[in-house]
C-alpha cells in the first residue's frame, strides 16, 4: 500500500471521474458533495505523502514505483517525487477541492460532464508532476490539454470558443517541437549507451554536442515558454483566463503555468546545460521584460480578470528569473514563488469569480465602493492583494526576496570576475517590479472597493443573487488560501526545507 500510495493518488481522480460518469444525471447534490469529499480525500492522500517525504534523503526521487509498460523499448510507467515536484503536487491537490466548492454555485449546466473533466484534468496534472519517464511525461502533458479545452469551451464566457482554440493551438504548437526533440533524445540515449531508456535519471547522463543541444533545448524551451508563459508567447493567456470559468482560471494559473517552469527545472535545463548557458542571457532578458511588461500592461486593463491574468505574466517572470540564476537562493525562491503564485493568483481568480457571480460584470468601471456593501469580501481581497504585491510576512515576499537575493548573488559573483556594473541591471530592474505590482493591484482595489458606493453595480445585481457578503462556503474555500499566505510568509522554512536538497542537487548540476 505504502509503495503504491503515489500511484494511487495520481489515479484516484480518474477513478472518481468514472464513478461520476455513471451517476444518474439528476443527482446534482450527490455529484457535488461526492466531488468535494473525494477531492478532499485526494488532498488528504497528498498530505500523507507530503508529511512522509524525507527532506534529508539525498536520493533524487522518493516514493518510487515503476511498472513495465513497453519493456522492450525501455518505456515504463515510473513515478517518484522530489522536493520540487512534491510542493507542486500538493498544491494541485489543494486547489481542486477549492474550485469544486466554488463551482457548486457557479456551474449550472452539464454538471456531470464538468466534474468528470475536472477529475480527468487532475489526474493529468498530478501525473505530469510525478512521472519520471520522458515518454510518459509527454503523454500526461498532452492529456492535460483535452479536459482544459472542453472546460473553457463549454463552461466559459461569451468568446469561449475563440479563447479555447487559441489556447490549444498555442500549446500544441510548442508540444510538437518538443515531441520531435523527445524522440531525438530517446534515440540518442540508445546510440550512446546501447540500451533503450527514457527515464529522467538515465537521460541526465547524456552527452550531446553543443549545437545539437541548442536545437533540442530550443524545442523544449519553446513548449515550456508558451506554458509559463514567457514574453512574447503570452497572448493566449489573457484570453484563456478571461473566458474560462472560475475553476478553469484557477487551475490554469495555479497549476498549468507551473508546468512550464517545472519543465524547465526538470527537463530543459538539466538535459542541455551547455545550450542553457548559450541562451541564458536572452532568457534572463525575457524574464525581466516579462516582470515589467506584465505589470505595465496589467496596469491599463479595464477588465478585472484580464488584469489578474497579465499580473501572472509578471509573477512568472520572477519564477523564470530565479530559476535562471542557478544558485540555491534563486532557485528556492523560484520554487516557492511557483507555489505562492498558485495560491495568491488562484485566490484572486476565485475572488473575481465570486464577484462576477454577484454582479455579472468584470468591468472595473462598473464597480465602486464595494467595501461598503461587502466588507468581508473586500477584506479577503485586500489580504490576497497584499500577498500578490509581496508584503513581508505574506508568502509573496519570501519568494520575491529569495529570487532577488539570488539575482544579486549572481551579479556580485559575475562582478568579481569582470568588473562591470551592468550585471546589476537585472536585479535592479527585477526589483522595480515591486513598485509596479503595488501600482496596478492597489489601483484595482481602489477602483473596485473604495470610493462612493456604486449604484450601477447594485443595478447589475439582480434580486437574491446580488450584493450578499461572503457565504459560508466561500469562507471555507478562502480560509486555506489565507492560512497558507501567512504560513508561508511567516514560517517558510517548513516548505523550503522540503525542497532544499533537491534544489541543491539541481544547482550542483551546473556548478561542477
Amino acid at each position: 500500500m505504502k509503495e503504491s500510495l503515489l500511484t494511487i493518488t495520481i489515479f484516484a481522480p480518474l477513478l472518481f471521474a468514472i464513478l461520476v460518469a455513471i451517476v444518474p444525471r439528476g443527482q446534482r447534490k450527490l455529484i457535488e458533495w461526492g466531488s468535494l469529499v473525494f477531492s478532499a480525500v485526494v488532498f488528504g492522500l497528498a498530505i500523507t505523502l507530503f508529511l512522509s517525504f524525507d527532506a534529508h534523503k539525498a536520493s533524487p526521487f522518493q516514493f518510487n514505483q515503476s511498472f513495465a509498460w513497453l519493456p522492450q523499448l525501455g518505456i515504463s510507467f515510473s513515478v517518484g517525487l522530489d522536493g520540487v515536484s512534491l510542493l507542486l503536487f500538493t498544491l494541485t491537490t489543494l486547489l481542486v477541492p477549492l474550485v469544486v466548492l466554488a463551482s457548486w454555485t457557479q456551474i449550472s449546466k452539464l454538471i456531470k460532464e464538468y466534474y468528470v473533466l475536472l477529475f480527468v484534468l487532475e489526474t493529468a496534472m498530478l501525473g505530469t508532476f510525478a512521472v519520471t519517464n520522458l515518454v510518459v511525461f509527454f503523454i500526461f502533458w498532452e492529456m492535460m490539454l483535452i479536459p482544459m479545452f472542453f472546460l473553457i469551451g463549454i463552461w466559459g464566457s461569451e468568446q469561449r470558443i475563440f479563447a479555447t482554440i487559441k489556447f490549444v493551438l498555442f500549446t500544441a504548437a510548442g508540444s510538437f517541437m518538443m515531441l520531435a526533440a523527445i524522440i531525438y533524445v530517446y534515440l540518442a540515449h540508445h546510440t550512446q549507451f546501447g540500451v533503450w531508456s527514457a527515464s529522467f535519471t538515465d537521460l541526465y547522463r547524456l552527452q550531446l554536442p553543443a549545437n545539437v543541444q541548442l536545437y533540442l533545448f530550443l524545442a523544449f524551451a519553446l513548449a515550456f515558454a508558451i506554458k509559463v508563459p514567457m514574453f512574447p508567447f503570452h497572448t493566449w493567456l489573457p484570453d484563456a483566463h478571461v473566458q474560462a470559468p472560475t475553476a478553469g482560471s484557477v487551475i490554469l494559473a495555479g497549476v498549468l503555468l507551473k508546468m512550464g517552469t517545472y519543465g524547465f527545472i526538470r527537463l530543459a535545463m538539466p538535459l542541455f546545460p551547455q545550450a542553457l548557458y548559450v541562451c541564458m542571457p536572452y532568457l534572463i532578458m525575457l524574464a525581466v521584460v516579462a516582470i515589467i511588461y506584465g505589470a505595465f500592461v496589467s496596469y491599463v486593463q479595464s477588465d478585472i480578470k484580464k488584469l489578474v491574468a497579465y499580473s501572472s505574466i509578471s509573477h512568472m517572470g520572477y519564477v523564470m528569473l530565479g530559476l535562471l540564476m542557478l544558485n540555491q537562493q534563486g532557485v528556492e525562491g523560484a520554487v516557492l514563488q511557483m507555489v505562492n503564485h498558485g495560491i495568491s493568483t488562484g485566490g484572486l481568480f476565485l475572488l473575481v469569480g465570486a464577484l462576477y457571480q454577484r454582479y455579472h460584470t468584470r468591468e472595473i468601471a462598473a464597480y465602486s465602493g464595494m467595501a461598503h456593501s461587502i466588507p468581508k469580501f473586500a477584506t479577503v481581497f485586500v489580504i490576497i492583494t497584499l500577498s500578490s504585491v509581496g508584503l513581508p510576512l505574506t508568502n509573496g515576499f519570501v519568494g520575491e526576496f529569495l529570487v532577488l537575493l539570488g539575482a544579486f548573488q549572481r551579479a556580485a559573483a559575475l562582478y568579481h570576475v569582470e568588473k562591470c556594473l551592468s550585471f546589476f541591471i537585472t536585479p535592479v530592474l527585477a526589483a522595480s517590479g515591486m513598485i509596479f505590482s503595488a501600482l496596478y493591484m492597489l489601483w484595482l482595489v481602489e477602483r473596485v472597493f473604495f470610493g462612493k458606493p456604486a449604484e450601477e453595480a447594485a443595478a447589475h445585481a439582480h434580486g437574491e443573487h446580488g450584493g450578499y457578503d461572503l457565504t459560508v462556503a466561500e469562507m471555507i474555500y478562502f480560509a486555506p488560501i489565507v492560512v497558507f499566505i501567512f504560513w508561508i510568509g511567516v514560517y517558510p522554512m517548513y516548505f523550503l526545507n522540503k525542497a532544499a536538497l533537491s534544489v541543491a542537487a539541481f544547482v550542483a548540476l551546473f556548478n561542477k
Partner: protein, 664 residues
C-alpha cells in the same frame, strides 16, 4: 543577553489587532447573534462593541508599554558596555548559506523608540476613544491602530535589516489602511494609495541597499554591518551606494524630497492617525534607520553629505509651503516634513544623537499640535480651514493653551524642548566637521519660517474674532475628558522633554546629558571644528532671536486687524502662487511620470505591441496558412479539364526526365 521579554512587547499589539480585527470582520454576524440571543438593540450592540474594542485597543498598548519599561529597567541594570537584550524567535529565511532569523534586539536606541512609540501611542489611543466616538468603523479603527503599533515595534526591534523591513512595510500598510479609513470618500482612498506607492518607491531603494550590503558583507545584522563598515577596507563607492540606497528608503518613509508628496495628502486620515503615524512615530522611521546605521554613514562621506543636503533642502522647502497653507492639518503636515528635514540634517552633519533627540521632542510637541488640531476640528464640526476659524480661545481654553505651549516649543522658545533640540542641530550644522555655513543658514531660515507659520496658525485659529458661520461658532465646544487630558500630558512633555539632553554649553551649571550618555556606546556625534566650539553662546542667541522674529512678524500680520497679509500676497504675485500651489510638484509628477507610464502601457505596449504585433503575427501566420490552402484548394475543384491538364503536364515532365536520363 538572550531574553524572552521582547516578544511580549510585540505580542500584545498583535493580539489586539487579531481580537479587534475579528470583531470588525464578523461585526454583522455578532450583531445579529446578540440581537437574537441577548436581545440587545442595535444601539446597545454598537456601544458595547465599541467599549470592548476601546478597552482591548488601549489595554494592549499599555501592556506593551509596560513590557517596554521592564526591558528599559533591565537595560539600566546592565553593565554599560553590553546593554542589549536579544531574542531569536525562529529561523525565517534560510537558504543555502543565507541565514536570516526572525530576531529581535532591544538596545539603548530601540529602548527609546519603544518607549516613545508605545508611550505616545498609548496617549493617542486614549485620545482616539473620544475622537472616534460614534464612528461606524470603531472596531476596525482600533484594529488598524494596533496593527500599526505592532509593525512599528517590529521596525524598531528588528535585529537585522530584513526584520526591520517587515516593520518598514508593515507601517506603510497600516498607514495605507488608516489614511483611507473613510474609504467611501474617493479622495481619501486615493491619498492612501498614493502613500503606499510612494513608500514603495522608497522601499525599492531600501531592499536594493540591503541586498547590496548583503553582497558586500554577507550579513544583514545591523551591528554586523556597522562594524564591518567601520572596519571596511572596501572602496567607499559601494558603501556610499548602499548608504544612499537605504536613504532612498528613508526618503520615502520620512517624506523627504523628492518623495515627500504623500505626507500632506495623508492628512485625509482621522486626526489621531495624523498625530501618531504621520507626525510622531512612523515618519521618523527613516531617521531611526539612518541613526541605527550611523557607522555605515560615517564610513560613507558622500552619502552623509547627500543626507545633510536633502535634509536642509526639505526643511526650508516644506517650511515655505507651510507659510501659506490654510488647512490646519496641512500646515502641520508641511511642518512635519520640515522638522523631519532637521533630523536628517542632524544625521548628515554627523550628529545622530541629536537626530534622535529631536525625534523624541518632536514626537511630543507635534503630537500635541495635531491632537489640538483634532480637538479644534472636532469642536468645529469638521471644519479645517483656518481662515474660517478665529477666537476659539474662549470656547476651548484647554485646547488653546496646550496648543500655545506646543507652538512655543516647535518655534524654539527657550527653555522648551523644541528649543533645546533644534538649537543644537543648528549649532552642529555649522560647527560640526561635516557642517557648513550654508547648511546652517538654510536651517536658520527654515527656523524663522517655522516660528512664523506656527504663530500665524495660532493667531488665525484661536485669537482675534471668529470668522465662521455663527451657527457653527455657537456649537463649538471643548472636547471630552479623554482628549483634554491627553493634550495636557503632551503639553507637559513638550515643556520638559528637553531635559533628557541639555547640552553642556547651554546652562551655566553642570547638568548631565542623559541621552548622549545613554546612546554613547551605540553612536557618537562627530567632532566639532575648533572655530565652532567657542561660538555656541552666539548660536543660542541667534536661535532665540529667530524665534522672536517669527512671532513678531506673525503678530504684525495677523495679531492686529490689518490687511498686511493680503497686501503682501498681492505684491508677491507669482511667487505667492508658486508657493501656494506647492511648487506644482504634484502636477509635475503626474505629467512627467504618471501619465507617460500610463500612456506607454496603454498605447504602445498593450494596443500596439500586445494586440497588433504578437497577436497580429500569430493571426497572420494563421491567415498565411489559409491562403496557401486556398491555392491548393483551387487545384481540386472537380473540373475534369483541369485534371486532364495536370495529367498531361505530369506526363510531359516525367517523360522529359526519363528521356534526359537515357540520353546521358
Amino acid at each position: 543577553m538572550e531574553t524572552t521579554l521582547l516578544c511580549y512587547i510585540l505580542f500584545f499589539p498583535l493580539l489586539g489587532f487579531f481580537i479587534n480585527g475579528l470583531v470588525a470582520f464578523f461585526r454583522h454576524d455578532l450583531e445579529t447573534a446578540c440581537q437574537r440571543y441577548l436581545g440587545w438593540s442595535e444601539e446597545h450592540f454598537f456601544h458595547r462593541s465599541a467599549l470592548f474594542s476601546a478597552c482591548i485597543g488601549v489595554g494592549v498598548i499599555v501592556l506593551s508599554f509596560l513590557a517596554g519599561i521592564c526591558g528599559f529597567v533591565r537595560l539600566i541594570g546592565m553593565a554599560e558596555g553590553g546593554r542589549v537584550l536579544t531574542q531569536t524567535l525562529f529561523p525565517w529565511i534560510h537558504s543555502g548559506s543565507v541565514r536570516l532569523d526572525f530576531a529581535l534586539q532591544f538596545d539603548a536606541l530601540s529602548a527609546i523608540m519603544v518607549l516613545v512609540v508605545t508611550g505616545v501611542g498609548s496617549l493617542i489611543h486614549i485620545y482616539s476613544v473620544g475622537y472616534m466616538h460614534g464612528d461606524k468603523g470603531f472596531c476596525r479603527y482600533f484594529a488598524y491602530l494596533n496593527l500599526f503599533i505592532f509593525a512599528m515595534l517590529t521596525l524598531v526591534l528588528g535585529k537585522n535589516l530584513l526584520v526591520l523591513f517587515i516593520g518598514w512595510e508593515g507601517v506603510g500598510l497600516a498607514s495605507y489602511l488608516l489614511i483611507g479609513f473613510w474609504f467611501t470618500d474617493a479622495e481619501k482612498a486615493r491619498a492612501g494609495k498614493k502613500a503606499f506607492i510612494t513608500n514603495r518607491v522608497g522601499d525599492f531603494g531600501f531592499i536594493l541597499g540591503a541586498l547590496l550590503l548583503f553582497a558586500l558583507f554577507g550579513t544583514l545584522d545591523c551591528y554586523g554591518i556597522n562594524q564591518a563598515a567601520h572596519a571596511a577596507k572596501l572602496p567607499s563607492l559601494y558603501l556610499n551606494l548602499a548608504a544612499l540606497l537605504l536613504f532612498v528608503g528613508a526618503c520615502g518613509k520620512s517624506a523627504q524630497i523628492p518623495l515627500y508628496v504623500w505626507l500632506p495628502d495623508a492628512m485625509a486620515g482621522p486626526t489621531p492617525v495624523s498625530a501618531l503615524i504621520h507626525a510622531a512615530t512612523m515618519v521618523t522611521a527613516g531617521v531611526y534607520m539612518v541613526a541605527r546605521m550611523s557607522a555605515l554613514y560615517f564610513a560613507a562621506p558622500i552619502a552623509m553629505s547627500v543626507v545633510a543636503i536633502i535634509g536642509a533642502a526639505t526643511a526650508i522647502f516644506a517650511a515655505t509651503i507651510g507659510l501659506v497653507q490654510t488647512d490646519i492639518k496641512k500646515v502641520l503636515a508641511y511642518s512635519t516634513v520640515s522638522q523631519l528635514g532637521y533630523m536628517f540634517l542632524a544625521c548628515g552633519v554627523g550628529a545622530p544623537i541629536l537626530a534622535i533627540f529631536h525625534l523624541v521632542t518632536h514626537a511630543f510637541f507635534k503630537a500635541c499640535l495635531f491632537l489640538g488640531a483634532g480637538s479644534v476640528i472636532h469642536g468645529m464640526g469638521g471644519e479645517q480651514d483656518i481662515t474660517k476659524m478665529g477666537g476659539l480661545k474662549h470656547k476651548m481654553p484647554v485646547t488653546c493653551w496646550t496648543f500655545f505651549i506646543a507652538t512655543l516649543a516647535i518655534a524654539g522658545f527657550p527653555p522648551l524642548s523644541g528649543f533645546v533640540s533644534k538649537d543644537e542641530i543648528l549649532f552642529y550644522a555649522f560647527a560640526s566637521k561635516h557642517g557648513s555655513v550654508a547648511l546652517w543658514g538654510v536651517a536658520a531660515l527654515a527656523a524663522l519660517c517655522t516660528s512664523f507659520y506656527m504663530f500665524r496658525l495660532f493667531y488665525l485659529t484661536f485669537l482675534g474674532e471668529n470668522r465662521s458661520d455663527h451657527h457653527v461658532y455657537e456649537h463649538v465646544h471643548e472636547s471630552p475628558a479623554t482628549m483634554k487630558w491627553v493634550l495636557v500630558a503632551l503639553a507637559f512633555l513638550s515643556v520638559v522633554g528637553g531635559i533628557i539632553a541639555v547640552p553642556h554649553t547651554m546652562v551655566p551649571f553642570h547638568m548631565p546629558n542623559y541621552l548622549e550618555h545613554w546612546l554613547g556606546t551605540l553612536m557618537h556625534n562627530a567632532e566639532l571644528t575648533e572655530a565652532g566650539e567657542h561660538l555656541s553662546s552666539i548660536f543660542i542667541a541667534i536661535s532665540v532671536i529667530v524665534a522672536f522674529l517669527g512671532l513678531g512678524i506673525a503678530h504684525a500680520m495677523y495679531g492686529r486687524k490689518s490687511d498686511l497679509a493680503a497686501k503682501m500676497a498681492a505684491k508677491a504675485g507669482c511667487i505667492y502662487r508658486l508657493v501656494l500651489n506647492k511648487y506644482w510638484i504634484d502636477e509635475l509628477y503626474t505629467k512627467y511620470i504618471y501619465t507617460p507610464i500610463y500612456k506607454l502601457s496603454e498605447t504602445i505596449l498593450f494596443q500596439v505591441f500586445d494586440k497588433k504585433c504578437i497577436d497580429g503575427s500569430v493571426n497572420g501566420s494563421g491567415k498565411v496558412c489559409q491562403k496557401i490552402s486556398r491555392i491548393a484548394l483551387k487545384m481540386q475543384q472537380g473540373d475534369m479539364q483541369f485534371y486532364l491538364l495536370y495529367m498531361v503536364v505530369g506526363l510531359l515532365v516525367l517523360s522529359a526526365v526519363i528521356f534526359f536520363n537515357v540520353v546521358k
